[in-house]
């Protein structure tokens, strides 16, 4: 689309975006090929070998049960990233559907839906998820479900805003008057615009969801030990922080780097498409 390409200039300003994309792609590759990259069995205990500092044998040392931290991080990457992606995609789909529906229908239904969104927004995310887990079994699926239940609202808001604009905009009628079909306008202008806004939101969301998942598994939710979720690993390492800090620090850095690379994409995208960043020409 001509409009879209005019917005996107690859130059020094996009360093962040390109860096983020590269790093994220690298992390994704590592995650996918993690079984091949693991040096030890992530769940196999090896007590004589416990609490060893990082070495050429164990890149990130071993934990209290003698398990190789490096391999556990790799194993955990699949859980962490997989969860984050699933959450983002599902909450995006759910939220967008509800938002579009609400915006298009308008009237009473719209008002009720938006009130419901307000109610969900009143809960801080972690508090909501904690409350939900009381009646859900403690496994990764519950965690995914709980986060989706609160995360859909941010997509609903955007989608509903777009739907309202589509409903109200005057030049649809004008364009119809000069011959363009209503569906044509819908597909050529509005849907791409809405889709791009949702996609940007998703890219910005992945980073925070990764952090939320790690925080929640740190608190003991989601998949249980011995399954190596990064947050759980960090929690397990707390007791050994004095003499074996690598048990917590290594997975912590994994979380930080992953979140960082996706945040770079989100930030970079937002900057690249932000009209404020472009130079303005004034000819009057």
């Amino acid at each position: 689309m001509k409009k879209r390409s005019a917005l996107f200039h690859i130059n020094r300003k996009n360093v962040l975006l390109i860096l983020g994309l590269t790093l994220s792609a690298l992390i994704l590759l590592i995650t996918i090929f993690s079984p091949l990259l693991e040096t030890h069995n992530p769940t196999k205990m090896n007590l004589p070998n416990k609490l060893k500092a990082p070495s050429s044998e164990n890149y990130f040392g071993t934990d209290a049960l003698g398990r190789d931290v490096y391999s556990r991080i790799l194993e955990g990457s699949r859980v962490s990233l997989g969860t984050a992606f699933v959450v983002v995609i599902f909450s995006a789909i759910l939220g967008t559907a509800i938002g579009l529906f609400s915006g298009f229908i308008g009237g009473r239904t719209d008002m009720v839906c938006m009130r419901i969104v307000d109610i969900f927004l009143a809960f801080p995310t972690i508090v909501f998820v904690l409350a939900m887990t009381t009646f859900l079994p403690t496994n990764q699926l519950s965690l995914i479900l709980a986060i989706c239940c609160i995360n859909w609202v941010r997509y609903a808001r955007i989608a509903r805003g777009e739907a309202v604009i589509i409903r109200n905009v005057e030049y649809i009628e004008a364009a119809t008057a000069i011959g363009n079909s209503k569906t044509g306008i819908l597909f050529r202008y509005f849907l791409p615009n809405t889709v791009s806004k949702i996609l940007i939101m998703m890219s910005m969301d992945i980073g925070s969801i990764i952090l939320y998942c790690a925080s929640l598994s740190f608190l003991g939710l989601g998949t249980q030990p011995p399954s190596p979720a990064w947050g759980t690993m960090i929690n397990e390492g707390r007791d050994y922080i004095r003499n074996a800090p690598w048990i917590s620090i290594a997975p912590g850095i994994a979380v930080a780097v992953t979140a960082l690379s996706f945040n770079m994409i989100g930030d970079g995208l937002r900057d690249a498409l932000d009209p404020r960043m472009r130079e303005s020409i004034q000819t009057e």
């Binding site: 009143a122 801080p124 508090v127 608190l219 917590s248 945040n263």
Partner: protein
């Protein structure tokens, strides 16, 4: 203006009611568990006597129909009475009252720290857009914002508690105990604060009236304060409001790591112990606080902007 406040208050009441109800039903989906949970806590899981569970069901009206229980409970909430904690065997409200000031202190300190760094940094970044300071601060805040709270907390503990021994690792015993938890909380917010402040300021700086102010030849200080900053003030208010929201959620983590005796760690305990009344009390009060603060922020925002204050609103 008054109309605006009243309207928002009504919406807030609706939200509060809905939040309480949702919480109640989330937590009470399996009523049978409540009695079992109580007995578990009382006896340590060793003596799960059927008869005991029956008696407890009767004692706490747990065998009455759901809507009756709900109604009684709702009345309780109205009177700020959340019942007795299963774990501590004390009124929930008493425990919450004891811990609330601690969370408040921690939160306010963190907000203050974050604002102290974030607001000036954001403003300066906007004034020197695309120059060295701007790029550096944006990259730095991006990095810091990606570090999860528990990691930064642990790192801070390692460096400042264990190695340097400047601050205690946990608890609330000394005056310096608040430093590490507050800094950890603040670090999580400073990225967003700076970015929003920067964006808000940039929005103001490119407005027409800024050019007009320059055309009038007024002093640069007046331009920055009376024109730029005054118009960016609503952004600052929004930013602070957002931070407070972050604190309420983030405090659960930070308080757990630092064993800070506040509402967040209380909530976490309640989840682990399946202490239903405590869980309800904490969730509802935290959410109420969040809603009330958001309302306050919106009202202040509206009051600051003459366009809302003097028109219908």
């Amino acid at each position: 203006m008054l109309k605006y406040i009243v309207k928002r208050l009504l919406v807030m009441l609706l939200v509060l009611w809905a939040v309480s109800t949702m919480t109640y039903f989330m937590v009470h989906v399996t009523p049978g568990d409540a009695a079992t949970a109580i007995v578990f806590n009382l006896t340590g899981g060793t003596n799960m006597d059927e008869e005991l569970i029956e008696r407890i069901n009767k004692r706490f009206d747990l065998d009455k129909p759901v809507y009756v229980q709900y109604f009684n409970w709702l009345l309780g909430v109205f009177r700020m009475d959340f019942g007795i904690s299963y774990r501590y065997n004390m009124p929930v409200m008493d425990m919450i009252k004891a811990r609330l000031p601690n969370t408040a202190r921690l939160g306010l300190t963190a907000v203050f720290l974050s604002a102290l760094i974030g607001i000036p940094l954001g403003v300066l970044s906007a004034l020197r857009q695309n120059r060295l300071l701007d790029h550096t601060s944006r990259v730095a805040t991006l990095f810091i914002g990606s570090v999860p709270g528990f990691l930064s907390g642990l790192v801070l503990i390692i460096i400042f508690s264990l190695k340097l021994k400047w601050f205690p690792t946990s608890g609330m015993k000394t005056a310096g105990s608040i430093v590490l938890p507050a800094v950890t909380l603040a670090l999580g917010m400073v990225a967003t604060t700076t970015r929003m402040m920067r964006t808000g300021m940039l929005d103001v700086l490119r407005q027409d009236f800024m050019v007009v102010a320059k055309a009038k030849g007024i002093r640069r200080s007046s331009m920055l304060v009376s024109h730029a900053f005054r118009n960016a003030l609503p952004s600052i208010v929004t930013v602070i409001g957002l931070q407070i929201g972050h604190i309420l959620g983030g405090s659960v983590l930070v308080e757990t790591i630092f064993a800070w005796p506040g509402l967040g760690s209380l909530l976490n305990d309640a989840v682990s112990n399946r202490d239903t009344p405590m869980l309800e009390g904490c969730v509802i009060l935290i959410t109420f606080g969040y809603t009330a603060i958001n309302l306050l922020v919106d009202v202040v925002y509206a009051w600051l902007d003459p366009r809302v204050k003097y028109t219908e609103g």
